[in-house]
């Protein structure tokens, strides 16, 4: 199979990566080459094979319901020192319309 230019634009939008028409054209060619490689998988009969999501077959470990850190204004200051735009302790973004 191969992708269409519309699919490239749609996926780029889902991923929130701006892409120009010429970039999309170039990307389309590259993605189709990569998908030609990926398509090798499709020939394999994997019926009945349990998908493997993790490298180890172990169960989730649980943490105790205990507060380990809280109400730290210093920590906020440290975190927000690397933020693009903040005010009154909040991260600022272009206005969100609901």
């Amino acid at each position: 199979m191969s992708l269409t230019i519309d699919q490239v634009h749609r996926v780029a939008h889902l991923a929130r990566i701006e892409i120009s028409d010429s970039e999309a054209d170039r990307t389309l060619g590259q993605l189709n080459e990569i998908f030609a490689l990926i398509e090798e998988m499709q020939a394999v009969d994997t019926q009945g094979v349990e998908p493997m999501a993790h490298a180890q077959d172990v169960a989730q470990r649980l943490r105790a319901d205990r507060v380990t850190e809280s109400g730290q204004t210093d920590q906020r200051t440290a975190f927000q020192s690397v933020a693009p735009e903040t005010e009154a302790g909040l991260y600022l973004v272009p206005r969100v319309i609901e």
């Binding site: 701006e18 990307t27 990569i34 094979v49 349990e50 998908p51 693009p84």
Partner: protein
């Protein structure tokens, strides 16, 4: 001093023959001298490193040092280090000074090691040549026209050029082993879950694993002692009793130290995929292993040929989600001009990520999207299971699996940069190991036209100690790993 093993450095430091400040200064000077050509480091902070060195000296003076106290170690710029610029090789994080330490960094700090600097890498660890870094490509110390491999290329080049005694790396599909092979180093990817991923910027969470890059298996064992261990902050970190990875290395095992060891030679590693010169070196290493007492058995890993295809579904899928947090809201790059929120996202991410990262995000987004999930993502996970099953069967027949690390020696800068598929195929021997979550090590096994080649040894889950010993016995019997690139001084 720059040819000392870590153990020798530790002994010299403990004996006060050299101070940590002197040693750190020595390496900082080497970095200052050679890094402009190699581009192995992204960040060096002499004052911070020397302050750590002074603290290490004080600790040594109190007699409280450990094996790594006072030794400068370079860290891949994928590990968050408090107060250090932590870029992951990306413009996206080119202004990110981490407010916290990764588990690996904290463990080295606790061991008294000195943070020598943050090494260059493929952007977000996506690459096999170190050409995708926002900070420019790294040069291979063996031939400056060639790549050092990737994604831990900066760490490999730094150790190979003796700009650091040892370094850390991360390996998602071969990113420690392949640069180790291309730079004549020993590099190990431990079993998934042995080293905490906390604070290590995620590429593909179910595959990523940190490990050491050094000049010998013995050095790797010492480094792994510091790096490995349970961490409650990482759900995938495994609760296991602490191990001394050096424990098998010291024994005097006689003339046949590997008697009884069964080495599996998979047909798929000895086919036509590699350069004949590299395969000759691998065959020679097999012969050497027989001399050391090991037996060889023919095995097969039939699904391994599908590993690249499965990997290029699973890794981009996880990456597309892992990299969604880089949105220009809380840290990192934000585009200077935009119209609205979506425009801010779109521009910040388009400008902040390089071409390869964007390509993989798009692949990952596509394979997870509605209507394609089953055909790609689930199918890839099923193939991942088949690959893991192949290894499980193989380990019923042998103790260690042997083959080449990389199908060729270091390629030229730019040679594969325009052809993603060719680049991806250069990891054909390493990727399956990550999919299965197994430990593996790459060790030097000779040279082709002056360029190093690597031998890969794969062990069963948690067989790090045995693997290190198998590597170490070869290194006791060979001198490939002691070779150094010309023009270092």
């Amino acid at each position: 001093m720059i040819e000392h093993s870590l153990q020798a450095l530790g002994t010299a430091l403990a004996a006060r023959e050299v101070s940590s400040v002197e040693l750190t200064r020595l390496y900082l000077d080497r970095v200052a001298q050679h890094n402009p050509q190699l581009n192995a480091f992204i960040t060096v902070d002499e004052a911070a490193s020397l302050a750590q060195a002074r603290a290490a000296d004080a600790r040594l003076a109190r007699g409280e040092g450990g094996p790594l106290t006072g030794i400068p170690i370079a860290h891949k710029d994928i590990f968050c280090a408090k107060g250090w610029l932590t870029t992951c090789g990306s413009k996206m994080l080119s202004n990110f000074v981490s407010p916290y330490d990764a588990a690996v960094i904290a463990r080295f700090t606790a061991a008294g090691a000195v943070l020598l600097g943050k090494t260059n890498m493929d952007e977000f660890a996506m690459g096999s040549s170190n050409e995708t870094s926002f900070y420019g490509p790294v040069k291979n110390p063996w031939d400056a026209a060639r790549v050092p491999g990737g994604s831990s290329g900066g760490s490999a080049a730094a150790v190979a050029a003796r700009l650091a005694p040892a370094a850390t790396g991360t390996d998602t599909g071969g990113s420690i082993r392949q640069p180790a092979a291309l730079c004549n180093l020993t590099g190990m990817k431990p079993t998934y879950g042995v080293v905490s991923r906390f604070g290590m910027i995620a590429f593909a969470s179910s595959l990523d694993q940190a490990g050491p890059l050094a000049r010998s298996a013995a050095d790797c064992a010492l480094l792994l002692n510091a790096m490995a261990g349970f961490d409650e902050r990482d759900s995938t970190s495994l609760e296991r009793a602490p191990e001394d990875y050096c424990r098998e290395l010291a024994a005097d095992a006689g003339p046949l130290p590997l008697a009884g060891l069964k080495i599996g030679l998979p047909a798929e590693f000895f086919g036509s995929g590699s350069s004949p010169e590299v395969m000759q070196l691998v065959e020679a290493a097999v012969a050497e292993y027989r001399k050391l007492g090991a037996q060889t058995v023919a095995i097969s890993l039939p699904s391994m040929q599908l590993s690249v295809a499965a990997y290029y579904v699973i890794a981009p899928a996880e990456a597309s989600s892992n990299l969604a947090r880089f949105d220009g809201v809380r840290y990192g790059y934000r585009a200077p001009q935009y119209d609205d929120l979506n425009d801010m996202y779109g521009k910040s991410r388009a400008q902040g990520f390089g071409a390869e990262v964007k390509r993989r995000i798009l692949i990952g987004t596509y394979v997870l999207s509605h209507g394609y999930y089953d055909a790609y993502y689930l199918q890839a996970q099923r193939i991942r299971r088949l690959i893991a099953n192949d290894f499980a069967k193989a380990f019923e027949q042998c103790d260690v699996i042997l083959g080449p690390t990389s199908p060729s020696t270091a390629f030229r800068l730019g040679e594969k940069a325009a052809d993603p598929v060719q680049m991806y195929l250069s990891d054909i021997y390493t990727i399956a190991v990550n999919l299965a979550g197994l430990p593996a090590i790459s060790i030097p096994c000779g040279f082709v036209d002056g360029l190093p080649a690597g031998l890969q040894l794969i062990g069963n889950y948690f067989a790090e100690s045995g693997l290190l010993n198998v590597a170490h016995r070869y290194q006791l019997a060979s001198e490939w790993h002691l070779q150094q690139p010309a023009g270092l001084v």
